[in-house]
Subunit: 461 residues, 2 copies
């Protein structure tokens, strides 16, 4: 810890004594996030409890050149919330109120620390729907979701977090309050800072309020599981469903390795011998659901699904999604270290990407469980390793680099939903080129002249 | 004209002799746009015909401190394409190719000068759908649509241009090529510059390529016209439809003044004595369309519609929308000067906003025809005047300022879809506050250090 005692004292004046944590154990707790990266112990953890106090904390940090890493639940997978040496972590968990839930105009205004699942539940209780459902929704926060532009299982039909951000209010590096966007569904007043701030990983400002679009919920839904004896036919089914212009709300893939990990972990009755599963849900008007469900069943059969199980009720449907949501935890048990990737390709390239992943698993001799949002071209190849095994870890790093190359060569992108953070900053150039990075560095340097807002993330130092 | 002959010669080397226009008449032609503002005659009009030439033109302008105003069709309504003195207009109309229309992955890559309606038609011919339909779509360009974040009639259900921008490639003020976004439906690789560039009105860069999302078209649709003897019941119907969680693709309003202007102009058979009309279209699965249509009819009746005419075929449907699309031209005939506003409110505030417009028309004794996207809270009160009549014009300016105040006091915004440009730059502060403008000015100054990219727009000088 190396903040001056006067700075600590000023932070305490702003946030209260309970709002500033400086003990060794507290600082250790906030030194890492869900990414497999070296932790960095912050100098203090600060918990503002009002908009104004966010601005004051940032001003203080700017004046003293103290790095600030804003953190919701720390569930991001790219090191976006790993703090800087001598920096503070600005925790948003005391700012967790729903400010306004407007049923008539279908929007909700929230503080950044609201938990995603809590928000979704409160919105659902009013007969409305907030679709984005990142895997970490039970603990993740809206502020973090917007900062990372979080995705989830429903992206295929409903899009991702950015598609629901109507307006933002944030404090910039100088502690000034900035607003962008509106409670109106159309707004072109000024630069689209709401767009810019989405996915900016805490490097351009700290959210104090976010306005999200809500929509009417679908009237009906239908879930099914298609079982395959071949990975290839499963992935071809994904491409065929999309080519047939059907828009499921969810279209998930799970390979044999993942199926068995899930069964070992949760024992939900998945077919252990299947080479691959597709988990599919359609929603909307009941007639649309019935027709789409029927068409999808036909496509699955035609392309060689060995069995298709349609959930007959909510309990069976929940079981399907419980299995899918258990995938990460199930794989995580198998080895000391798990690297969850999310390089993403155009949807039609899913068969090629799965094939590339299989080849890399063999080439580097690394167990890889692959599951994820096949309908979005957004798979999660999950590498199992032990970071303490230097040789194995080096193979993992090389394998991941090859995975990125494979995705880019298929017209894809480094990250579909996990962000760049520290983990992928070094690879950015391969996708967007140096001049794009230079443009962003120029912008960041002007907005944050002392480089205090989450320095080193996305565009490097 | 005050560009040096050596600069003109260099521009000719880049764009060819036909690519640089310097005659008085050509420069006059590009001195104004669709906004009611003083024209400014540019020093030259330049038409690059390749990506590389865009970059070279900008570099040249940056080195010589020459302002560049990029222009598609100049249909924007806020002065965003009025050039600067001693500056050039960079016309995109030679860059009008569709680079790739990918049916499988449902995206299209275009050059910025592609005409919106041409794109929509080519997309439709492949069985896909590009929803944004700004009023000027017959001539407007995609580059302009993205630069303005153009809206249109289908915003209620399908959103606006920004909801379809997957990726952009642009040249920045230094002539560097910058890319952001992906052909994948999920992408969080780097700052969301695709979001930032949308609605930036040519002030941060010049597009060289844009990737747009396409969707499957709706299977069915149904259009109807509801006729009202009272403005109030018409606007209450809008609120009731939304409150009932129905999502029409289009929900348009037209007042008596506009109805009669349209009849005088196009003679399409609208009821001249109606106080207001709602023009409504629902689309989607046939069963959904039938049910939504039925529910809307019931709501219209319940709230006092005197008649409801459902289009029985495409010809009748086309007639309804022809009438709506004629509104602006019809009103434009009546007086020498037409001021088309687009201050926007949350949907539920439409009755209050229409009432506020009526009061202002009386207060300032100005004829105002009101029509527009009621379902988006995005009305177009259209003030008829003669700019040469100094006293009347002053009343118009005061009335417009009051209109903005009314929208803001109802929780709305200065502009739903027309942009800020020069016309509304002075009002920005009332909505977003000075610190938000300062933030944007800092960003712009860093990205465009010589202030050559469309200076003066959005955030003033």
């Amino acid at each position: 810890m190396s903040l001056s005692s006067s700075l600590i004292s000023e932070l305490q004046q702003i946030c209260g004594e309970n709002g500033v944590m400086t003990s060794e154990v507290d600082r250790q707790n906030y030194s890492y996030d869900a990414a497999v990266l070296e932790p960095t112990i912050p100098a203090a953890v600060v918990r503002p409890n009002s908009k104004e106090s966010i601005g004051k904390v940032i001003s203080l940090c700017n004046d003293s050149g103290t790095p600030v890493t804003v953190r919701g639940a720390g569930t991001n997978l790219s090191g976006g919330t790993i703090p800087n040496k001598n920096g503070i972590v600005l925790l948003t968990n005391r700012m967790n109120r729903i400010i306004e839930l407007n049923e008539t105009d279908m929007y909700v205004r929230v503080e950044p620390g609201v938990v995603t699942a809590d928000l979704a539940a409160q919105v659902a209780a009013k007969g409305l729907f907030y679709p984005p459902d990142p895997g970490s929704q039970a603990v993740s926060t809206i502020g973090g979701n917007v900062a990372e532009n979080a995705g989830g299982l429903r992206g295929f039909k409903y899009g991702v977090t950015k598609d629901y951000v109507m307006a933002v209010e944030f404090f910039d590096a100088l502690g000034r309050k900035v607003t962008s966007g509106s409670k109106t569904v159309k707004c072109v007043t000024g630069y689209n800072l709401a767009g810019l701030m989405t996915a900016s990983e805490g490097t351009l400002g700290v959210f104090s309020e976010i306005t999200l679009k809500l929509i009417p919920p679908p009237a009906a839904s239908k879930a099914m599981m298609a079982v395959y004896d071949s990975v290839e036919t499963a992935t071809q089914t994904v491409a065929a469903i999309i080519a047939d212009r059907i828009v499921p709300c969810t279209l998930e893939f799970m390979d044999n390795f993942t199926i068995n990990a899930v069964e070992d972990f949760a024992n939900v009755g998945l077919p252990r011998d299947a080479k691959a599963l597709l988990l599919i849900e359609v929603d909307g008007h009941p007639a649309q659901v019935a027709e789409d469900g029927e068409r999808i069943e036909q496509i699955c059969k035609k392309l060689g699904a060995r069995a298709i199980q349609v959930a007959r009720n909510d309990a069976e449907k929940d079981k399907v999604w419980e299995a899918r949501r258990a995938a990460l935890s199930a794989l995580a048990r198998l080895k000391p270290t798990l690297v969850l990737e999310d390089a993403t390709v155009p949807r039609s390239q899913i068969p090629a990407m799965v094939s590339a992943i299989e080849k890399l698993a063999l080439k580097y001799d690394i167990p890889i469980g692959t599951f994820g949002h096949a309908g979005d071209g957004n798979l999660h190849p999950t590498l199992l390793t032990d970071r303490r095994d230097v040789a194995h870890w080096e193979r993992v790093e090389n394998c991941v680099a090859d995975l990125f190359d494979a995705a880019l060569s298929l017209g894809g992108t480094l990250s579909g939903e996990h962000g760049i953070g520290i983990a992928k900053a070094g690879f950015m150039k391969n996708e967007v080129g140096q001049s794009s990075i230079d443009f962003c560095r120029t912008m960041k340097a002007a907005i944050d002249p002392n480089n205090i807002l989450n320095p080193g993330k996305i565009i490097g130092q």
